[in-house]
Symmetry: C2
Subunit: 134 residues, 2 copies
């Protein structure tokens, strides 16, 4: 379904949303240990997310990663797409070019509703929603 990288990304962001702030930055080392993710791999992922400003980072002593209030409107889908480099939920399940209602693949009509629904579910989750116990 999702790649390891994007699962790690979502887990790490969830952790940052719940436990970090500008005054309380988290070290890659600690996040990696808490979530049981290979540290250097997580480091790459967090760097990538910080580069597009989905999360914030600070170098040097007292530095680390954190999420600001202004970053809480990002969706989980945004994160997945950024890390995977593509929107897998938009692609045809059978890899047809231009698969759609009027030019459907063999199973389009049978799965489109649910596939689109799952995409919407990921899109509707904003980082701020992770603060609420669902």
């Amino acid at each position: 379904m999702l790649s390891n990288a994007s699962k790690y990304a979502v887990n790490a962001i969830n952790h940052l949303v719940l436990n970090s702030s500008e005054e309380n930055k988290l070290l890659v080392k600690d996040i990696a240990e808490d979530l049981d993710i290979p540290k250097p791999f997580l480091s790459k992922i967090l760097q990538q997310l910080a580069a597009v400003n989905y999360i914030s980072s600070a170098k040097g002593p007292g530095g680390g990663f954190y999420v600001t209030a202004g970053q809480l409107d990002r969706s989980i889908l945004d994160i997945i797409v950024e890390i995977e480099g593509k929107d897998q939920f938009k692609q045809c399940a059978l890899n047809f070019d231009d698969c759609n209602e009027s030019n459907p693949c063999a199973i389009h009509h049978l799965i489109a509703t649910m596939k689109d629904g799952l995409r919407k579910a990921y899109k509707d989750i904003r980082l701020k929603d992770l603060k609420i116990r669902n």
Copy 2:
């Protein structure tokens, strides 16, 4: 979403359901050309499906692959699970062990309905349904 291998498998099976029978077997070569799938890779996939009797095959002149009436009750999910070696739709989106209603991951409640629904959609498609224009 799905691996290339399982996409190829579903496309090839669809092709077999629509165009083959015990009296009209199809060659890997022809299926590969018609569907634009690398022939040796498709060959492996069809072998695997034939080994578990999801499709039929015959060696020698006049041989090839085909689907019989008795094989039309198989679901698309069966094919995906066989080829991928796991049921990705059953796994937690964030890789939590034993993620469920009472022990949910951070986004379980927000995506479970759609994720389970997509799995059911794949499970509800039987090969015989591919004969009908949906």
